[in-house]
């Protein structure tokens, strides 16, 4: 019992370490990627003993700056809620990672370790619940600040997140129907099957429409460009106007955490999670006849690498999208969500149901 607890703690520590560092790293990626896209150099001045590490220290400098800044709570604000809001935001974004399987079973001696912090039967629902609860951080921040602009920003954010959650949820019903499970690790395992003997049955293959709806809606959930109407850095007064110092930093961190969360969700649901094509627990089985047995450790490492690479590619892609697309107008945002994505998602579910029924009858 004790050992199992320790293993869970170790897994949680591993995920937290990886995710938080990646979020910090994102500030560097954001600066440098945008700089490269716009023919600039990007922040490169922060240095330790004359070493600049390509400007990577700027993230560190930011954090130091934010911690040493004055933490202002407006006089008429609700002190408790004002302080709680950023913690809510970060907490729900971090907790959602618990249900994401980042590798297959690791076998150490007699023990079988699932590389997933919490093995939940309805993991998908859990992740969505946490993602939805993230709205609380936003609306509380707006409400507790006692600032009309902040409240409006919070309302915009809430309206946007709730609208897009519906499209997001319905898009994923198709995926759940195809694989017949809400357990994310089983869902990933089911994606290891081969279609017609050679094509990995990843989500993108069987549910391409759902994938595009998911990515669009999920980007809207992260509240970053092109959907950054709740708060637009320099132009739009958003729900965290009244925040300063590290509390502001936590809202920023939440944005990056949610980007990573969405990237790992997209990987898990549509790109086979830790699956490597043609790799099953006992080794590679190539459709053209080759076989290459691998040990359990190598298999797990392959899985981890596969998951990380896919996730990072998604992070990169989202960042590229963020620096490519202009912002939506609010009416465009709403009509895209309700008149565009929502009906398409419903039609996708209906068509999936019909196709599945026919396949079931044929079998």
């Amino acid at each position: 019992m004790m050992i199992e607890l320790l293993i869970k703690l170790a897994l949680a520590g591993f995920v937290l370490f990886f995710v938080l560092n990646l979020a910090g790293f994102h500030t560097w990626v954001e600066r440098k990627q945008s700089a490269l896209i716009q023919d600039r150099i990007g922040a490169n001045r922060a240095s330790i003993f004359g070493f600049r590490f390509l400007g990577m220290l700027h993230g560190l400098a930011d954090v130091l700056k934010m911690f040493t800044k004055e933490d202002i709570i407006p006089d008429r604000a609700d002190r408790t809620l004002h302080t709680l809001a950023p913690f809510f935001s970060v907490f729900f974004a971090l907790v959602a990672f618990a249900a994401i399987p980042f590798g297959d079973q690791l076998i150490v001696g007699e023990r079988v370790i699932d590389l997933q912090i919490a093995k939940i039967d309805a993991a998908l629902l859990y992740v969505f619940a946490m993602l939805s609860l993230g709205v609380y951080g936003v609306i509380l921040a707006g409400f507790a600040s006692r600032n009309n602009y902040a409240i409006m920003g919070g309302l915009r954010a809430t309206a946007q997140m709730i609208s897009y959650e519906i499209a997001l949820g319905i898009a994923l019903i198709g995926v759940v129907m195809v694989y017949g499970t809400m357990d994310l690790s089983n869902l990933v395992r089911a994606q290891g099957q081969l279609l017609w003997g050679w094509l990995p049955m990843w989500g993108i293959v069987v549910q391409p429409v759902a994938f595009f709806i998911f990515v669009t809606a999920a980007l809207a959930e992260t509240k970053r460009l092109p959907f950054d109407l709740p708060e637009g850095e320099s132009e739009i007064i958003g729900y965290f106007v009244e925040y300063s110092g590290m509390k502001f930093g936590m809202f920023y961190l939440t944005d990056f955490l949610e980007t990573i969360l969405v990237a790992s969700l997209a990987t898990t649901l549509f790109f086979g999670g830790w699956q490597v094509p043609y790799l099953s627990p006992d080794g590679f089985h190539f459709p053209w006849g080759g076989e290459l047995p691998v040990s359990n450790l190598v298999y797990v490492l392959f899985g981890l690498a596969s998951f990380s690479i896919k996730g990072l590619v998604f992070c990169f892609l989202f960042m590229q999208l963020r620096w490519t697309l202009p912002r939506f107008r609010y009416d465009q945002l709403m009509s895209l969500g309700w008149k565009g994505l929502f009906p398409i998602a419903v039609v996708n579910v209906v068509i999936t149901a019909i196709v599945l029924a026919f396949i079931g009858e044929a079998a």
Binding site: Q33, A35, L36, I37, Q38, D39, R40, I41, F212, Q320, L321, W323, T324, L325
Partner: protein
């Protein structure tokens, strides 16, 4: 009342799909990204130095090339013997719209030269960089071609140039000792140049 109808362009179905538009946008950003990434790496390896990877000019280390007619900090040009070309004719002081120049002329030992400046003070905090002093000078004695742009100081006094700094553009306050070998009014005490700004009616 004249009415002008502005028709907002309707999006075509192709544009409403968003994906083709996103694709073409991503094509641009990806092209820039990978081109610049490749060039940055090549520069690190010492290759393709001729092709810039960014348009950034890293200011304190790199300066933008100046146009030859650019008006930067003033200097007094020198004769071959190192004395100023200025003959103290007061034309620049007279033409200066900002009245930032103060000249006190003195008698030159050479009878062919009428006068020379005992003091030549120029307050950069007042100067408007119009360049009239350069244009008006009959002796080509003052020029604005030092290329010095970083004219910033912590006090107004430091913005007030006197003849030492005008003759040697590299010289900055505080000036330790006077290096001019011709007679001029000069009080350098403790590294600070004290002048006659007060008694010339220019404040202190």
């Amino acid at each position: 009342m004249a009415v002008k109808l502005v028709r907002r362009p309707e999006l075509t179905f192709w544009e409403k799909l968003y994906f083709p538009q996103i694709y073409s946008g991503m094509k641009v950003t990806f092209r820039h990204f990978f081109r610049n990434l490749f060039l940055h790496i090549a520069h690190r390896l010492g290759r393709l130095k001729g092709t810039p990877a960014s348009v950034t000019i890293q200011y304190p280390e790199e300066l933008r090339p100046l146009m030859s007619r650019y008006r930067s900090r003033h200097r007094l040009t020198l004769r071959d013997d190192g004395s100023p070309r200025c003959v103290g004719c007061m034309l620049c002081e007279t033409v200066c719209p900002a009245r930032c120049i103060t000249i006190v002329p003195g008698e030159h030992p050479d009878p062919h030269v009428e006068k020379f400046p005992e003091r030549f003070d120029l307050d950069l905090g007042i100067c408007v960089y119009c360049g009239y002093c350069v244009e008006v000078c009959p002796e080509d004695a003052i020029r604005m071609d030092t290329g010095i742009l970083d004219l910033a100081a912590y006090s107004r006094e430091a913005m007030q140039l006197d003849i030492h700094e005008l003759m040697d553009p590299e010289l900055r306050k505080p000036v330790e000792n006077c290096s001019l070998d011709f007679p001029h009014r000069c009080e350098i005490t403790g590294g600070e140049m004290k002048g006659s700004w007060g008694h010339l009616g220019h404040g202190d």
